[in-house]
Each structure stands twice: as C-alpha cells, then as structure tokens.
Amino acid sequence: MTEADIRKLVVAELGNVAPETDAAMIDPDADLREALDIDSLDFLNFLEAVHKKTGVNVPEPDYEKLLTLNRAVSYLLARVAPKSAGS
C-alpha cells in the first residue's frame, strides 16, 4: 500500500464512524477526536476497521500515535508492508 492508499483508507474509515463529516477536509494535524467529534467507542470501531483492512493491530499504548490524520497515516505506513514502503 502506498501512502496515498493508506490516506484514502483512513479517510474512508473515519467517514464510517463520523458519517456526516468529511475527514478529507479537516486539518491533517488536528486532533481527530475534536475535529470529527468522535468518542472512544468510535475510535475503537475505526481501529477495528483498520485492523481488518490492513492487518495492523494497533495496541492501546499506541493510540496517541494515531490521533491526527497525518500521524495515523505515518504510523500505518510504517507497519503495512514495510518493504514496499521503503523503510
């Protein structure tokens, strides 16, 4: 998966937990919980969907590393198919 693929996936899954918002339009460095008004259950649903789609199982202590759109994309990029990501 490329960075663009992951960004698309993250935006789509955030859209599923916050249907009336457009995650593509938010500040990519803003706190997702504030920007999209999502609670801990929404965030858990988001992580469950990410896990299903990418295989990346984000442990609880890492939650804070995904709290903005940009950070979530970087975090996942580093863990999805590390070879193709060139890291």
Binding site: A18, P19, E20, R33, E34, D37, D39, S40, L41, L44, N45, L47, E48, V50, H51, K52, N57, V58, P59, E60, P61
Partner: protein
C-alpha cells in the same frame, strides 16, 4: 385472545405512528419477535411482542397515529397464564382518555390503506406519513411511484433531531417539576480498573477490546442489586416499585445533537465481554434510529458517562419514572493523598441524583461507595 397494544416507550410518549407490520395475519409470533415498527419522537422503534401465538386481525392501519394503549392487533392462541400485564396505558395523557373514540376512528383515513412493500420501505426511510398519500395503484393502493412523487427529506431513517429535542425537554421538565432531586458526588480511584483493563486489552485485537464504560456499567449494576431502592420506578399513585431485573439505561449522544438512553437488559447477569457487545450494538442502533421497544421502555436506572473528552463532573437529571441517575466524569490524573503522601492517581468523579420520595443522602452515599468498592476489584466484575 391477546390484544397487542401501542406500547409506552418512555415517560414523554403520548402516541406513535404505525409505519410497518413485520408479521401478518396467520404468521406465528414468538416471545421477543419484532412485529411492527412505530415512528416516535425518538425515531423509528421496532416493537417486540411478549407472548407467543398467531397474528390475527390487525386493527390499526399503516400510517395511523394512535395513543399509547390502543389495540394494534389481536393475537390468537395465546396461553392464558402467559399473558404479561397490559402496557401502562394509564401513562397516556388525559387528553386521550376523555373521548371514547374507537381506534378505527382515530385512524380515520386508514381503513383499507393498501401499500406495496417497496413504497412502505421508502416512506419509512423518508419519514413520509402514508396516510397523506393518494395511491395510484390497483384499488387505490400506494405504490413506490406515489411515494417517490411526494419526495420528502432524505433524512437519516427515523431520526428527527428537533423532535428528539422536544421529547428530551418534555421528559426533563417533568422530572424537574415532579421529582425532588438530591445530589451526591465522590471521587473514585480508577487506577486498578484501568491497569486491569490495559492488561486485559493487551492481548486482544481492537474488535475484542473493552472500554472503561463497561466496567462502570457493571459496577453500577452490582450496586443496584445490593441497593434495590435505586433500581425501579415511581408512580405517584402506588409509590416506588423495585424492579426485578437491573436494566440500565445508557445515555448515548446522537451525532449532530441528540440523546437517547436505551436499556441494556440484565446488566448484572452479563459478562464484561457480553456487555461490551451489547453497548456497541446499542450505540450503533441508537445513531441509526433503530431501537427496540423494550430498550426504550424497560430501563430501571440510568448511567451517563462523559467519556475521555468530557469534563470532570456530570450531574444528571432523573428520567421518569426512574428514581436515580449515576453520572461519571472524565478519568483524569490528579494529585491525591494516599497514606500521608501526595501521589498522582487516575481519578473519576461519580455522582448520583436520587429521588427524595424514595431514598435520601445516607442511602445514596452507600450506593455510590458500593460502586467505588466494585471498581477496586475489576477482576471480580
């Protein structure tokens, strides 16, 4: 013969609009089956039945708005001893009691209303009252095209946030008018509960993890078992009735500004994993406007949690006819004194709004302390 009636789905409900029959004359019905869908201020509610038998004559036609307690259909072949008490029709406002209007008259344009399944589905999705549509199909039946022509807002199914706000306001105004509230607050050290949760969740994938809300819910359920005076309903005529089950209404925020508090049945009997599953399901269905009648009417006590983005303390307003509401604030790191030393702990405020007609502060504080005690032993929840 059992009369299946328009249920009361909360203290503030006066009437509901029948929008769909899911069982038809001749169909077998079992206890717990969803037999109809009713549109209320809180969205489209799936109405369950609590007897087993066969669907007989359906008295009220689709699209008709009828008061709480109105017979909707007759159920045949119901064993006498299995009959549950009739819904609390007495809760219906006086305006509906005075004129002895038969249901068929209330549902004026309804008799003979024929609607194709597709038309019914679209009308429900768009919140269109079928009784207002003139059918162009055979014998004047309403077909899909008729509903499409009417249009209507493509709003989320069954959820009208303005009406929901009015319903909340009505229930809360009644509560503040009738219930002499008292308020208590305490701080609960959540360190042990959160440590236990972290250890438990470490080996799990996101779909199987637990949230702190499940621990607090279970702790309240245990405390309600021990102090039944907080778990039940109050009727001005008959006083307080303790509930046999612990059905906790969970306050759920609806995106865009709305609130519902559907019940999680038998909270004290369920494992934490089961409760988590129920909570996820309930939140999803609340936001879609797809709750069941028993969830709307059965709560015996309410819990409201602000979650991780909330503020420190929440003071709830009791949802009538219940007699207590527990409020949990955000868990925050705070300095606290332990054994003469100041240490930093994860602390959560817990409040209780109680009904002075039933309990007072002494018992209330025992109840809150029991919740605290339960949260200090998370492995036993």
């Amino acid at each position: 013969m059992y009369e299946f009636r328009m249920p009361s789905l909360g203290a503030d409900m006066e009437a509901g609009t029948l929008v769909e029959w899911l069982k038809h004359p001749g169909d077998r019905v079992a206890r717990g089956d969803i037999v109809a869908v009713v549109e209320t201020d809180k969205g489209a509610i799936e109405i369950e039945i609590f007897v087993a038998g066969t669907m007989g004559k359906q008295v009220v036609a689709l699209g008709a708005k009828v008061p709480v307690g109105t017979t909707l259909a007759l159920i045949e072949g119901v064993a006498e001893e299995r009959r549950p008490p009739a819904p609390r029709a007495a809760a219906a406002p006086r305006a509906f009691e005075a004129p002895a209007v038969p249901p068929s008259a209330v549902a004026a344009p309804a008799p003979g209303l024929r609607v194709s399944p597709a038309a019914r589905k679209l009308a429900r999705e768009r919140g269109i009252d079928l009784a207002t549509i003139k059918g162009s199909g055979p014998d004047g039946s309403i077909v899909l095209h008729d509903v499409e022509r009417v249009g209507g807002a493509p709003a989320r199914r069954g959820l009208d946030l303005n009406r929901m706000r009015q319903a909340i306001a009505a229930a809360m105004a009644r509560s503040k008018r009738e219930i002499p509230h008292y308020y208590l607050a305490t701080d609960i050290d959540m360190s042990k509960a959160l440590d236990w949760l972290q250890t438990t969740n470490a080996g799990r994938t996101p779909g199987n993890r637990l949230l702190p809300a499940v621990l607090t819910l279970k702790a309240v359920a245990h405390a309600a078992r021990k102090y039944p005076a907080f778990n039940g309903t109050f009727d001005p005529a008959s006083g307080f009735t303790a509930a046999s089950g612990v059905h906790i209404g969970v306050a759920i925020a609806v995106r865009g500004g709305g609130l519902a508090s559907p019940a999680v049945h038998d909270c004290d009997q369920q494992s934490l994993d089961d409760l988590m599953g129920r909570l996820r399901d309930l939140v999803a269905r609340t936001r879609e406007g797809r709750l069941r009648s028993s969830e709307m009417s059965d709560a015996t006590l309410t819990v409201s949690s602000l979650g991780e983005r909330g503020v420190e303390t929440l003071y709830g307003i009791i949802y009538p006819p219940q007699v207590a509401i527990v409020g949990f604030g955000r868990v925050a790191s705070r300095p606290v004194a332990v054994d003469g030393q100041v240490v930093v702990r994860n602390v959560m405020s817990a409040t209780l709004a109680g009904d002075h007609r039933v309990t007072d502060g002494h018992l209330g504080s025992l109840f809150l302390r029991e919740i605290d005690a339960r949260l200090q032993e998370p492995d036993k929840l």
